[in-house]
Symmetry: C2
Subunit: 428 residues, 2 copies
């Protein structure tokens, strides 16, 4: 029986859940994997109540000493942020210690450097917890790509946005109310930007796409739109079309490159995407041989993320015990070719919501503009009972490429009757 | 670069797809895993057209020589059946060769012996392809159980039955027509018993439950009911209740043991189970920490199953190349404790369809019988426009345990107006 000692840096929700799972499942882990995990050190900048720390673990406030300390075999990073985490992971690998992290932002931005270092040192970085919480999607992708070529992936990767959208849908409330309730319920942070504007989903998508398709992808170049401008009227309008709205991260290999984006989609209420409710996540993979697969589960929360951290720890512990640590899990990520973003993404159907000051001839002028840009209108709706000075009009158009629809929107936004810019959603 | 040579025994749909994937994805596999796979031998009792065999592979009709031949490092068993497969796997392991199989029947019935032999020889048996085709559910369970305790699992594990049920649902056709069309489409075998009577799902459930909960489970003791008696009237009746019918394999740990069965369920049309259509499979896992997870994809077919075989081959090839073969993946299966089947399963709601020769007072007598057995009726329906001598009546009852509802059914079946026995479906 090999005994593997874990140091946890950052003792918030995920760090605490990780320690808790190790404490409570230790016997099960031993039985299943033949290794004994113990948390021997916990590091947090603020003071920790010793009663909250894992039994027998020492408490420190500086993570640097863990890099060289004799009683820590593996380091778990759950402090978040980028600067300190980057230094920590770099330091750990340089000192020969495997690391596990849930930090998607760090990996989306500095994955190249960190994974290259891991390969150079032949050490693993466990990062299953960085995407889709407890869903073992990175392992699934690794396995899938062993016997198949993946063509596309898409999914709901941000629990906060999904919670807000499903609350808006089920209770007819507006975005601001749903957000403030999500904050009270602990599902959204005080500054929710990162979640609701799509960056969190974008970082996760970047990691998934690199694992699935192999190659470098610049996270900052992924077109990213959030749900901040989605209103109750959009949910109602979607419902009249037998649809609902989801924030979807998608990446597809096309002849001209990767068609990749994070944006709200209008999806059929009968689709599996629509069935993903509250803070849950789902990832769809499409492979040549495997067809479409879908993986669903809790996308966030200490327990699910902690369980993913522990699954990485167990794998590392097994390999450590067998004396065969390696950086095997970062192969796709480090593929040297670049994943080029397609200059002209695939045509899609689009939903446009116009907020206008009502006057005669609006629909005719909008329809004319859309026609001149080569678009066919699929449906037109007007929100019932809305005030003349702030009327919502909804158009759906048949599939065209995004530059075309954006060019039409630019012209529409210039009309004198427009109260605010057009909201554009992609139709599934 | 290590070169791993594969011998395939049984060259039907799955064997051929496996060879085809290895031939076409060889470069990708090399890049991703650092090993080169080649099929060097193919064995089939009937003659193979040399043009159909993998390039460079020799063709044999007897599998025994593969056990000792120098040009085969790993053996893939895709011939099906139990007798020869058992001998083949036993022989391969005894001769020090790892094996990969898609044969759930073999593993459900002889898993104890084969996995014990694998452990004794420290050799892997790859069996990802034996359950749920391309969905990597066994690996997911292994990972999940590393950091969490699983409480329950259920799923749609038989693609043939699911295809028949969804055809009945979408086109309003009866069971016999759906079955015969499934046979024509290649989704059902000439003798469909194994699929439509639930044994195939039962064998897969046995493997899943043993992996998830750890311990011995006698496959023959799993209560198993198929879909042979489900009729178009049941689908219509389910639709009136906003439900549909799915063949569900389920296992749940309860205080008194494992509540396990394969049987048709009435599920909400809005549920994810209802969204699983055609030959697709889905598995739901419920863990203490991870909550509910769902994994969905193609459950059968050469490509999906072949891809699962290849994913096992790649893992074995990697370990073989690194000189670290082991039987690590059979830990749960070999847990020595027995998974006791709960004597009194959890209460559930039930759907009863009675086919009667109409006369006065039937509903009153049935209702009286149900009441005497301590059941509360939830709904009663009568199929419209049905002939008096063969009238369908539907009852749904509030949750009670199965023995209670079976005792009531026994009494109802004895009534003189019954044309055939009651059909009993569980309500989700």
């Amino acid at each position: 029986m090999k005994h593997i000692r874990v140091g946890i840096v950052g003792f918030g929700t995920v760090g605490r859940a990780t320690a808790d799972i190790i404490a409570h499942h230790s016997a099960l882990i031993e039985k299943r994997s033949g290794v004994k995990l113990t948390v021997t050190a916990v590091c947090r900048r603020q003071a920790i109540n010793p009663a909250d720390a894992p039994p027998g673990a020492r408490i420190t406030t500086g993570w640097k000493e863990l890099l060289t300390s004799d009683d820590v075999d593996v380091i778990v990073e759950t402090m978040g942020g980028v600067d300190h985490s980057l230094q920590l992971l770099r330091g750990a690998l340089e000192h020969g210690k495997p690391v596990v992290t849930a930090n998607k932002k760090l990996l989306a931005e500095h994955g190249d450097e960190l994974f290259a270092l891991a390969v150079a040192r032949n050490l693993p970085i466990g990062f299953e917890a960085s995407v889709a919480g407890g869903i073992p999607i990175l392992r699934v992708i690794q396995e899938s790509t062993a016997g198949d070529r993946l063509r596309a992936l898409h999914g709901i990767l941000n629990g906060t946005s999904n919670y807000i959208l499903t609350q808006m849908e089920s209770r007819g409330i507006d975005f601001d109310q749903a957000l403030s309730e999500a904050q009270k319920a602990g599902y959204a942070e005080a500054d929710p930007t990162f979640d609701i504007d799509g960056q969190d989903a974008r970082d996760k998508l970047c990691i998934l796409a690199r694992m699935a398709f192999g190659g470098h992808l610049d996270v900052a170049r992924i077109p990213t739109y959030g749900i901040r401008d989605v209103r109750a009227v959009d949910i109602r309008s979607a419902q009249r079309l037998d649809r609902t709205i989801r924030l979807v991260a998608s990446a597809e290999q096309t002849g001209s490159g990767l068609d990749v984006s994070v944006r709200p989609w209008l999806v059929s209420r009968r689709s599996m995407l629509a069935k993903v409710e509250d803070v849950n996540n789902a990832v769809f993979l499409v492979g040549d041989r495997l067809g479409t697969q879908m993986f669903y589960g809790r996308g966030a929360g200490g327990d699910a993320t902690g369980a993913a951290v522990v699954s990485d720890l167990v794998e590392i512990a097994r390999d450590l015990a067998a004396g065969r640590l390696s950086a095997k899990n970062v192969v796709g990520f480090l593929d040297s070719r670049a994943l080029e973003i397609a200059p002209e993404p695939k045509p899609a159907g689009w939903y446009l919501r116009l907020t206008v000051h009502d006057q005669r001839g609006i629909i005719a002028r909008v329809a004319d503009t859309l026609a001149r840009e080569g678009m066919n209108i699929d449906s037109v709706q007007q929100e019932p009972h809305s005030p003349k000075e702030r009327l919502s009009l909804f158009f759906t158009v048949e599939p065209v490429s995004e530059p075309k629809v954006r060019s039409a929107i630019e012209k529409i936004n210039a009309f004198e009757f427009m109260v605010e810019p057009v909201l554009l959603l992609r139709i599934e």
